[in-house]
Amino acid sequence: MNETDREPILVAENISKRFGQTQALSDVSVSFRAGEVHALMGENGAGKSTLGKVIAGLHKQDTGTISLRGKALKPGSLDGAFHAGVRIVHQELAQCPNLSVSENLCLHDMPTRRGAVHFAEMTLRAESLVHQLDPTINVTKPLGYLSPGRRQICQIAASLDRGADGSTNARVIVFDEPTSSLSISEATTLMNITRKLAADGLCIIYVSHRMSEIFTCCDRVSVLRDGKYVATNVVAEITEPVLVEQMIGRRIEPIEDGSHKSPIRIAIEQVADGQAHHVDAGEPRLRVRSLNSPGKLNDVSLDLHPGEVLGVGGLVGAGRSELFDAIFGLDKRMTGSILVNGKEIAGKGTRAAIKAGIGLGYVPEDRRNQGLFFNLGIDENIITPIMPEISGIGGIRRMNTELDTVKQRIERFQIKTASLRQTTPGELSGGNQQKLLIARWMTQSTRVLLLDEPTRGIDVGTKAEVYKLIRAAAEDGLAILLVSSEMPELLALSDRILVMGEGCIRGELIGEEMTQTNILTLATQENKPVGV
């Protein structure tokens, strides 16, 4: 690298961004150079993706500026960033899988001849872009026929569109978790392409939480934590433990002076106080053996005892929700054995899982799409799974029994609602919606409860309530499987922690081993080859 490369091409200064109650970024400043692959790292929710999206103009920052070669970009303008030469490649970006690769690449500007689409011209144009990255891709094929890795390559190719002189207009490309859905060999190809683009003088901003990728293909790495900037390191001069330490901010943990405690930590401590919790060591209530599901789960086994909260840690896409879906009978391609109280329920579907005597309950992670019925009242949202049990012959509802049941739950879970029948979940706050969903499954007949991100997007006060409910339910002998991406929450609530990665159980942590460092180390490591 010569001296001119040392000048930053893109500078993010004092960026702050808030989503509702969450401060996603606060006063973050990072500068990026041409010709480098610059990683943005951090835990789930650290703000790395948000920063990438602010740079590309997908999100509008509340304060701060992004400037490219000294010229400030218009905040929140994808178009402005695009014309200045900033591109973003990420999973959610619109692609039309039914159209050919070439049509996808030329969507915004299809070549025409006498009013009709000029397919030959389009193919040539697409090939000139795609073949510099992967000459084996057939651009006339529908995009949906390609593997995820090749689709990603096509997206990158689309960002390399050319100007009139034939050279690319792109200056900065943001890769947002580019390898999260790719196989290892595809990821390697992608990293090679990344290096090649940087060698051509582009600035690559690489958002990722995969440790190995940072060390193989990045030049520098900036770490974010809780929306704050921590440090920028030259990759060659740093070790993995140091990086993990920066990500989780270990130094904060031992400080117990109370002055810098986050509200969430206080909430957790209230629950954890005097927690002399004993777990029944006898027969496990839930016994899962060698659960497999193509592309989702790989030989997962676990035991869950009555009164135990078993935490499941891991990064986004580690297969945690997929595991829950499989246990609950929603994954049709799943194989393996699931025993509840010694009874096999694998392959028998959801009905078998929730019926009396088995008593599985599942609070899914996405309450809007997977949980609530917005056309029904609070009452029916709460009693959905037990409605047949409390109804009379022929499924005729007993309105008074229903109402009593609902009132009890509303009271026990302190759900604030204007009315039981008329109010729909859409009128409740996020916290009350979540409590409603938990209330749905905390019934007398529930024996095993699967909780997937039970406190996502709710305020701190409600979080504390939810923590208390979870611990109290465990004291009552409920067996709870808990997925949470919030490390302090996972650590405070769990009796044991399983760490998942790429559909496998990577390890189990008990007692003293349960630390953020250990979870993150297990979660970010490569899968061990099978048989070792």
Binding site: L372, F373, P385, M387, G395, I396, R397
Partner: protein
């Protein structure tokens, strides 16, 4: 109390019906129709035409305009009819045609006719409501109706015109409902089993069943129309006269509407239909057997189309192979006017019935106004669009308030 009534979805529909009926009644008061009722006199009648001065004249002596009254003497008993009440007198048959004026809309016969016409659609619309709440659609109800009608007619024709009601009623209704349920079951099973959008499956069924209807009728009876049904089923049951009208189909409509309301509002099955329509993914996560509920809903819809067909053949006394052609659109329209959302999750049985009644009221109004049938269709189309737009804006308003 009053505010609770207005909160209901159906209050708007009832209001529309009341407004429509009032408008038609008032129109009918200003433009009444002439009714001629004949009175036949025995041969011994003496007829005199009286002029203004009260002088009697023989037939043919006075012009129509000079006649002041008609005087009939039978067996020394004389009755006089003022000329304003008389339309004409036929001397050959000794028939006096009296004329009177009546409201073309607001009379017993017309109101029962509207309700009877609505009942065939309303019964199917109750089933369709279930399907539409599921965010599905059933385009085959018209064809199921036709198919069941032909099958039912063939069964009743085979029984003979003199069969006992103990045989004809169970068989007439049973054949139609069973055949309809089987068609609906096929719809549901294919939709769920193959995971195909119900539009496609029921579109296919619509064509298949229509063809099957014509084919069966041709192959077994060699005609397009099957009559000579058991009279114990037709005049004896479905078209039985009470107080000068034929109310049986209307009674069926009322029973089906109440049943539909009960199932949707008061049973676990009904609430599951609404839950699936509101959020199918959440329904799966809540352990609701989504596939089974869907299949059952399509089956019931088919069965109700069959029931409607049974009433149709009983009322008309025959079935034609093109019966129920394009009924699916009227049924869907009734459901949508009744407040069901094609996006799923919303709809009521009562709304569907009221929707069917509104459609028939508009139809009846067009006939009474003597409007061309093509204009009738234009008005009907406009009414459907208007109803949905009003309903949508009402929803949006309600959403903003909360």
């Amino acid at each position: 109390m009053l505010s609770r009534i207005f909160q209901h979805q159906e209050s708007g529909l009832v209001l529309v019906i009341i407004l429509l009926m009032s408008a038609l009644s008032i129109y009918g008061m200003f433009y009444p129709v002439k009714v001629k009722s004949p009175t036949v006199f025995p041969e011994s009648v003496e007829v005199h035409f009286v002029d203004k001065q009260g002088t009697e004249h023989a037939q043919g002596e006075l012009g129509r305009n000079q006649i002041h009254a008609f005087r009939f003497t039978v067996n020394a008993e004389t009755t006089e009819y003022p000329s304003s009440r008389v339309d004409r007198y036929d001397s050959e048959t000794r028939t006096l045609y009296l004329q009177s004026w009546k409201n073309p809309f607001l009379n017993k016969d017309n109101l029962v006719l509207v309700a009877k016409n609505a009942s065939f659609f309303a019964i199917m619309a109750v089933g369709m409501t279930g399907v539409i709440i599921l965010a599905g659609i059933d385009l085959s109800v018209g064809s199921i109706y036709g198919f069941c009608a032909i099958l039912g007619a063939m069964a009743l024709n085979t029984l003979g015109t003199d069969a006992s009601w103990m045989l004809s009623i169970p068989i007439g209704i049973g054949v139609c409902v069973l055949a309809g349920a089987l068609c609906g079951l096929a719809n549901g099973a294919m939709t769920v089993g193959f995971g195909v959008h119900p539009f496609v499956i029921t579109l296919g069924m619509m064509a298949t069943l229509r063809g099957l209807t014509v084919y069966t009728s041709q192959a077994m009876f060699d005609k397009q129309s099957i009559g000579h049904l058991s009279s114990s089923f037709t005049e004896g049951f479905v078209k039985r006269e009470f107080f000068g009208v034929y109310p049986v189909p209307i009674l069926f409509m009322v029973v089906v509407a109440i049943g539909g309301w009960f199932v949707l509002a008061r049973t676990v099955f009904g609430r599951r239909i609404l839950a699936i329509g509101g959020n199918e993914t959440a329904a799966k996560y809540a352990g609701i057997p989504v596939g089974r509920v869907k299949i059952l809903v399509y089956t019931i819809t088919g069965a109700l189309a069959g029931l409607s067909a049974a009433l149709y053949i009983g009322y008309l006394g025959s079935a034609e192979t093109n019966a129920g052609n394009a009924y699916e659109l009227q049924v869907i329209a009734a459901t949508v006017i009744g407040g069901a959302s094609l996006m799923g999750g919303r709809g009521t049985a009562l709304g569907a019935v009221l929707g069917a009644i509104i459609i028939q009221l508009i139809n009846n109004a067009m006939v009474n106004l003597g409007v061309d049938p093509s204009v009738n269709q234009i008005v009907m189309g406009g009414a459907i669009i208007l109803a949905v737009i009003i309903d949508q804006s009402k929803q949006r308003l309600a959403a903003r308030r909360s």
